[in-house]
Symmetry: C2
Subunit: 451 residues, 2 copies
Amino acid sequence: MIGGDAAGMSAASQARRLKGPGELEVVAFERGHFTSFSACGIPYWVGGDVPERDQLIARTPEEHRARDIDLRMRTEVTEIDVDRGRVRARDLDSGAESWTSYDKLVIATGARPIRPDMPGADAPGVHGVQNLDDGQALLDTLARTRGRRAVVVGAGYIGVEMAEALINRGYEVTVVNRGSEPMSTLDPDMGRLVHEAMEGMGITMVNDAEVTKLLTGEDGWVRAVATEDGEYPADVVVLGIGVRPETTLAKAAGLPLGKHGGLLTDLAMRVRGHENIWAGGDCVEVLDLVSGQERHIALGTHANKHGQVIGSNVGGGYATFPGVVGTAVSKVCDLEIARTGLREKDARRVGLQFETVTIESTSRAGYYPGASLMTVKMLAERRTGRLLGVQIVGREGAGKRVDVAAVALTAGMTVEQMTALDLGYAPPFSPVWDPVLVAARKAAKTVGQHP
Amino acid sequence: MIGGDAAGMSAASQARRLKGPGELEVVAFERGHFTSFSACGIPYWVGGDVPERDQLIARTPEEHRARDIDLRMRTEVTEIDVDRGRVRARDLDSGAESWTSYDKLVIATGARPIRPDMPGADAPGVHGVQNLDDGQALLDTLARTRGRRAVVVGAGYIGVEMAEALINRGYEVTVVNRGSEPMSTLDPDMGRLVHEAMEGMGITMVNDAEVTKLLTGEDGWVRAVATEDGEYPADVVVLGIGVRPETTLAKAAGLPLGKHGGLLTDLAMRVRGHENIWAGGDCVEVLDLVSGQERHIALGTHANKHGQVIGSNVGGGYATFPGVVGTAVSKVCDLEIARTGLREKDARRVGLQFETVTIESTSRAGYYPGASLMTVKMLAERRTGRLLGVQIVGREGAGKRVDVAAVALTAGMTVEQMTALDLGYAPPFSPVWDPVLVAARKAAKTVGQHP
């Protein structure tokens, strides 16, 4: 296994479960200091909701080794020799290099954060939040800086979650965002709701703003974020611009990459055209079951599933990963944000024609204490009425409602079929028509009106 | 429309939406004082979470009349004359009777509570909670009684919700239950978890106890609930034994009833064999899509759906109600209880062979504040691996997770297919493997091991 995080170590563990040490030797290379950690949890550690770094570690190197996995920490694979079935690895501390041969190879090299190539991007006080070392470095900076002004660059999941973390730490937070609205994984009309809610939390939102450079003070520390139109003073800057598949090794080895730069696999997570090489996690592209095209989605839950599938196959069993529907859920303070399936522009890009509807409803029966408003947007294909996507923005109880739509998408349901779904109802849990059903009813009506 | 609650008035409203007053005359008979009220909300009104009765009324008689519905309150239909297409109705205040003819008839007569035929069942201090008048009478009793001992007879949804309501009102609550565990809509092993949690809330649980009579004091008021084995002192008694379809009129008219005493309809909610009579809500039986047999389920969310479907068809449109999967969710204080599909005994009864698995997981990532334990039980068919049912007992975030299983059941998914479901993941919302997926993985493994 190349890579000791979610996909690699899930694969290692699952393969080990199926085949004992006498049958299968499992070697895993990890260039970092940690294994099997929750990158998704870093914003909550930085924000103070999770007090200790080690709570984010699902399984330590020692725990993996106790299960007969030959785990080589701080060891970076520098070359894959596909023809001879071997990898070259360097011990990052000693610098020693050696070749290790394999019968089966698993590539789980993850993703790397997009670091803008601009002046000041490496200045002290500028932080990414990709791994636990990054998180610790940011926490050290927060402990050290006197000023309380934070600028977050990027308004995707990481950006909005880091905005919450910094608010929780008592910072004045500005989010500088290239798009017209935050959360570009939503359509702009739904992103607008996030925008307004974040402003309501006291966060300064700067949209349509391309960062041109990071300005530093005399001491070399970052002091402001500059865009074409303005300067935003900063005592700390967090970069949350997104990630790209880390496929440098794979590319050098001639393995097939998709248009997003991720490895291409078959349904068993085997690298296409290679009998004995598997790949999973943030370094691969996945099939989007709604659009029928590959996407790159860096998300721990997919990486874990890939690892399970790969480990089963490597261990002599059988499993497949059929694809994704693009479900994601996030929050900023008490605002919950969820999406699944296609946005308007995704649908257009793949040639689908559709209707959209947007409804407002509540998380519980309107009369029940704590009922909160949520907005549900739904896309349905013209003529067939097939569900294409759902986006939800609301407060408590909004986010996980997207799961109903995720299953319906997987099953290829029409919005008309969805109107009859037998969802759990009781006043503390839902209005008598669940918000997803209200949207489905309206969508079904709209599709029916345009034959 | 016979009946002015969820099914009847939804049908009336939907028919009116499709056809104006010049095209369709809509007459609705309601024998009670209210229309379109939330019976499911009564426990929360009694418990004080909902301060005002009128909050439970979705639409008043005046609001219905303003939409050109000829609503006749306090008017009870006493006979359906199918041959001549007319109903006889009595004004309950004046006693006057008259016939009204119809082109299309909608029967939405609801359900009636099972009142035990035993001494003392009608004594003052003994209450059902079927309608708003019942709720008000119970509140009046609670305001009047000095004692603080309440006995709830029955431990289904109404029973456990009323236990919560009475706890909230400061009563010492005893729940006397005929079954071996509370919540007989769950398998007993899951009901056991509810039992233990309710005892942890200070509720006295008496299981395997058939009530034989209600004892009254010298003033005629109830003073205790007697079973074969004991006596439970009570200042107030709430009966939550369940309901039966109210189909006296339909039966007298010769309309087809099923084995649970409910009207039998086709997919358009038309009474079988009758071109111009529809029925919906608590007075009908519904097709269980998992077992393939009819069931009786009294639940507002189904009644509303039936009303929509009937109204569409009566109004000249087209809609169907394909059936249910038996989803229900409830809570007792902070304990959430949910189920969908078949219990073990349901599956056996219809000839299905299955495997069961039970897992424990958490509502959020284990390290995230507020993560709470939940237990998920899953039934999957032998050989095919088709999902048959899910039961969940846990705290915050447990209940509505059943919706994922409800959609999967509707789509006929196997537990293996479910393991790949793309459910929303972020640490505040779910562990990296959602509890439903953890159960599906274990179920898939179990089914696979028994070929």
